[in-house]
C-alpha cells in the first residue's frame, strides 16, 4: 500500500513525527492544544460563553442564550457553515442568516450536553482555530474568520479532511459532525434529506403529541 500521507496535501513538519505514537498517547496533541488554550485565554480572546447576543454587533437572533460558544466561536461557525451547507442554505439573505444562526444555536445546545471532558476538548479545538497565531500556523487560515471567504473556509476543511495527520482529521470530523447533526437534524432542514418526519398517522394516534 502506498503511504497515504505522501500523496495527500496538508503535510507539514508535523508529519515527520511518528504519527502512531503521537496519536496513540494523544499527549502531543493534548499538551499542544492545552498550551494554545491557555495562551488564547491570557491574550484576551473571548473565552466566556457569548450569552445573549446583542443584535447590534452580530447577525444572530437575540432570543437564544449561548452557554458554551464564545463570540469568536460563533464567528468561526458563521464562516464555516456556508462552506459546509452553502447551496443548501436559503438564497434570501434574511432566511439564510436565520438558518445559519439557528444551526449555531443548535450546535451550542448540543454541546451543552456533551459533559465537561468533551467540552474541554472542543474548547481547545475552537481556541486553536480562533487564536490568531495557531489559526495561521496550524489551520493556515490567514484572516480572521469574519473575513474568510467561503472558498477559503472550504479549502481549510479540505486540508484537514485530507491531511495525513490524525489530529487534523479528528478536528475535521468534530467540526463537521456537530454542524451536520445540528443542521440536518433540525425540522427546518428535514426537506433537504427527503425526510418527511415521523409518520403523521402515528403522531395522530400517540398521547404524547396531544396538546390538550
Amino acid at each position: 500500500m502506498l503511504d497515504p500521507s505522501a500523496a495527500r496535501s496538508g503535510d507539514t513538519e508535523f508529519a515527520r513525527l511518528d504519527r502512531r505514537s503521537f496519536l496513540k498517547s494523544g499527549l502531543g496533541g493534548t499538551l499542544f492544544l492545552a498550551t494554545v488554550s491557555t495562551t488564547a485565554g491570557l491574550s484576551g480572546c473571548a473565552t466566556a460563553p457569548a450569552g445573549q447576543l446583542d443584535a447590534v454587533d452580530t447577525q444572530m437572533k437575540t432570543s437564544y442564550q449561548f452557554r458554551f460558544l464564545t463570540r469568536d466561536d460563533i464567528e468561526l461557525f458563521e464562516a464555516l457553515l456556508p462552506a459546509m451547507f452553502g447551496p443548501a442554505l436559503p438564497e434570501q439573505p434574511q432566511a439564510r442568516r436565520l438558518a445559519v444562526a439557528g444551526t449555531i444555536e443548535r450546535i451550542d445546545a448540543g454541546i451543552e450536553n456533551f459533559g465537561p471532558a468533551n467540552q474541554q476538548e472542543l474548547r481547545r479545538l475552537f481556541d486553536l482555530l480562533t487564536f490568531g497565531f495557531t489559526r495561521v500556523t496550524i489551520a493556515r487560515v490567514w484572516s480572521r474568520w469574519p473575513n474568510v471567504s467561503t472558498t477559503d473556509a472550504n479549502a481549510f476543511l479540505e486540508r484537514w479532511r485530507t491531511s495525513g495527520i490524525g489530529l487534523f482529521n479528528n478536528g475535521y470530523i468534530a467540526l463537521t459532525k456537530i454542524s451536520n447533526v445540528a443542521f440536518y437534524g433540525g425540522h427546518d432542514q428535514w426537506h433537504l434529506s427527503g425526510y418527511p418526519g415521523p409518520p403523521q398517522w402515528a403522531v395522530d394516534a400517540l398521547p404524547q403529541f396531544k396538546t390538550a
Partner: protein, 530 residues
C-alpha cells in the same frame, strides 16, 4: 397517557422514585442491596432481588424518561438519552460510542436485536477462562426465561427495504441470512427505536424489569451519580453518590450515602470499571479496565434505484452470520452483518463530508441503504481489546487501539458489504471513510478498498456494544469476578453487566446480559435470603 403508560401509572400508584436533581439535603438510605445502573444488568438484578423479598435501591446517573418524552425527535433524544449527549468517543476520538444514559440504559435506545450468546463464544469461554458452567446447555434455560420476560421472538413482519437489501444481496451471493429476534410487544413498525420507543412496544428494562422491581418496593434514585464505593476493612460499607443539578450533567453538591449488605455494580463496560477504579477496590493483578471490547463497526452506504426510506420500519430485522465464525472462533477477525436505521441527523453525523458532495449524499437519503459489520474482538492474541482509565475529573474513558488484525477484518468487511450491495442492485456504493468516493461497480469498489488507507480517523468507526473491563474467569490473576459475577477480592460486591464478558459476544449483547444477570441474581438472592 396515564391509562396506558406503565411508568406514568406506576408513578401515580406511588412507586418510590426520587429525582435526585430535586434534592436539597445530604441524606443516607439503607437497603439489603444497592444496584448501580438500571440497564440490562441492573434492571434484571433489581427485579429478581426485589421479588425475592430483598429491599433494593436502584441508582441511575441518567434521568427517568418515558413515553411522554419519546417524541421521535433526534435532537432532544441524543441530548437526553445518550452518554455525553451522543458525543462519547474513544480516547483518541477515532471511534464513536453510542451508549444510553437514562433509566433503562442502552436498552431504552437500542435497536431491539436480541440474540443468544453464540455457542462458539460460550465454548471459547469454557475452554479459555475456566467458565465451564456457562456452557450452551447450562445457559439455555436462562436465555429461554429472559426471552419470555422480554418478549423476544424473530420478527414476523416483512423487513423494511433497508434490511431486505441485505437479504437480497446475501441471496444473490449464496451467503446465509436470518431474521433477527426482537424484544417487542405490539410493535408499530415505526423505526424510532433509537430515540426512545414512542409506543411502549420495546420490552427493554424500562418496560419490564424496572417496573417489576418498583412494583416490589424497590426504590429508584435517578439523576444520581455513583461516585465511590467505600470500604470498611474487607467489605464495602457504603456508596457515596452525587445528585446531579438541574441540567442533569453537573453535580448539585448534594450527596447521598447508600448503605447495604451487598452491592451490585451494573454501570456498563465503561461505567463499571470506572466506578471500581475511582473506588480503589482491591485489584492486586491490575485487571480492572483491561480487556475492554466494543465490536468495532464499519459501514458502507449504497444508492439504490428503488426508494428505501431507511428512517422507517423496524431498524434491524435481517442479519448475516456468514462471516462471523467462518474462519474458526480464533482465526482472522470475523464479523456479523446488520443494517442501521438512517435518520437525517444521525446520517449526517456518520457519513463524513461537507459541501456539495455531502449535500447530494443527504438529498439521496430516501434511496440510501447501509450495511454495518460488527467485528468480533477479543478471541485472538492480536485482539486484546482496550483499556478503561480515569480522566483527571474521575470520569471513565476508553482507549481502544485498532490492531493490524482488526484492520484486516475491517477491510474484509468493506469488501463484503460493497459486494452485497452491488449484488442487490445498488447503483453506487461508498465507504464510510474520509477518502471514499462513490464507486459505480463492484470491480471499482474492490480496487479502491484494496488500496484505501486503513487508519484511525480516516476509517469512520463506531460501537454500540461495550463489553469487558471487569472480566469474569476462574483465575483471579487474569479476571475481576468469577463466573457468577462475584468479585474475587470483595465478598459483598458483584458485577452484573456486559463488563464481565471475557471477550466480545459476536452478537448484539443485550440478551446475553439479561441471561447472565438473571442467573447470577438468582444465586445472589438465594445467598442473601438464606
Amino acid at each position: 397517557m396515564s391509562l396506558t403508560d406503565r411508568i406514568a401509572r406506576g408513578l401515580e400508584a406511588g412507586w418510590k422514585v426520587t429525582d435526585a436533581t430535586t434534592l436539597t439535603d445530604h441524606q443516607t438510605h439503607e437497603a439489603d442491596v444497592i444496584v448501580i445502573g438500571t440497564g440490562a444488568g441492573g434492571g434484571t438484578t433489581a427485579e429478581i432481588l426485589a421479588k425475592n423479598g430483598l429491599s433494593v435501591i436502584l441508582v441511575e446517573e441518567g434521568r427517568l424518561y418515558y413515553q411522554k418524552d419519546f417524541t421521535m425527535d433526534e435532537h432532544s433524544a441524543y441530548a437526553s438519552l445518550y452518554q455525553e449527549g451522543m458525543s462519547r468517543t474513544t480516547q483518541d476520538g477515532a471511534i464513536a460510542i453510542l451508549q444510553g444514559r437514562c433509566v433503562g440504559g442502552s436498552t431504552t435506545v437500542n435497536w431491539t436485536s436480541s440474540f443468544r450468546t453464540p455457542d462458539q463464544t460460550l465454548t471459547y469461554w469454557a475452554d479459555n477462562f475456566g467458565l465451564d458452567n456457562l456452557s450452551p446447555e447450562a445457559m439455555a434455560p436462562w436465555f429461554e426465561g429472559r426471552e419470555q420476560r422480554h418478549t423476544v421472538a424473530p420478527w414476523q413482519t416483512p423487513p423494511n427495504v433497508n434490511n431486505d437489501i441485505l437479504r437480497q444481496g446475501c441471496e444473490q451471493l449464496g451467503y446465509s441470512w436470518q431474521t433477527i429476534p426482537r424484544n417487542v410487544k405490539g410493535c408499530w413498525n415505526l423505526g424510532y427505536c433509537g430515540v426512545g420507543c414512542p409506543t411502549n412496544a420495546k420490552q427493554g428494562a424500562l418496560m419490564t424489569t424496572i417496573p417489576g422491581a418498583l412494583d416490589h418496593q424497590a426504590r429508584l434514585f435517578h439523576g444520581l451519580r455513583a461516585e465511590r464505593l467505600v470500604m470498611d476493612q474487607d467489605r464495602i460499607d457504603h456508596l457515596q453518590a452525587s445528585a446531579m443539578g438541574a441540567d442533569g450533567i453537573t453535580p448539585s453538591g448534594v450527596t447521598v450515602t447508600l448503605k447495604a449488605r451487598h452491592f451490585v455494580v451494573a454501570a456498563s463496560a465503561i461505567g463499571s470499571p470506572g466506578l471500581l477504579l475511582r473506588s480503589d477496590i482491591p485489584d492486586p493483578h491490575a485487571r480492572v479496565g483491561k480487556r475492554s471490547f466494543i465490536h468495532p463497526v464499519n459501514a458502507t452506504i449504497a444508492q439504490m434505484p428503488e426508494k428505501v426510506d431507511p428512517f422507517y420500519g423496524a431498524p434491524q430485522s435481517i442479519y448475516s452470520d456468514e462471516f462471523n465464525f467462518k474462519n474458526g472462533v480464533d482465526g482472522p477477525a470475523g464479523f456479523k452483518l446488520e443494517v442501521p436505521p438512517l435518520h437525517p441527523g444521525m446520517s449526517a453525523g456518520v457519513i463524513p463530508g461537507h459541501g456539495p458532495e455531502q449535500i447530494d449524499a443527504m438529498a439521496g437519503l430516501p434511496w440510501t441503504q447501509s450495511v454495518i459489520a460488527l467485528m468480533r474482538d477479543g478471541f485472538h492474541p492480536e485482539s486484546p481489546g482496550g483499556t478503561v482509565t480515569l480522566r483527571d475529573d474521575g470520569s471513565p474513558v476508553l482507549d481502544y487501539p485498532i490492531t493490524d488484525y482488526l484492520w484486516h477484518g475491517l477491510k474484509q468487511a468493506y469488501l463484503t458489504m460493497a459486494e452485497i450491495q452491488f449484488a442487490a442492485g445498488a447503483s453506487k456504493v461508498r465507504l464510510v471513510h474520509l477518502d471514499s468516493n462513490w464507486y459505480t461497480s463492484w470491480g471499482e469498489a474492490r480496487a479502491a478498498i484494496n488500496s484505501i488507507a486503513m487508519e484511525p480517523h480516516r476509517v469512520r468507526l463506531f460501537t454500540a456494544h461495550q463489553m469487558g473491563g471487569c472480566s469474569m474467569g476462574q483465575d483471579p490473576q487474569t479476571s475481576v469476578v468469577n463466573g457468577f459475577g462475584e468479585h474475587h477480592q470483595v465478598s459483598n460486591l458483584s458485577v452484573h453487566d456486559a463488563s464481565v464478558f471475557p471477550t466480545s459476544i459476536g452478537a448484539n449483547p443485550q440478551l446475553s446480559i439479561y441471561a447472565l444477570a438473571a442467573r447470577n441474581s438468582a444465586r445472589l438472592a438465594a445467598k442473601l435470603t438464606s
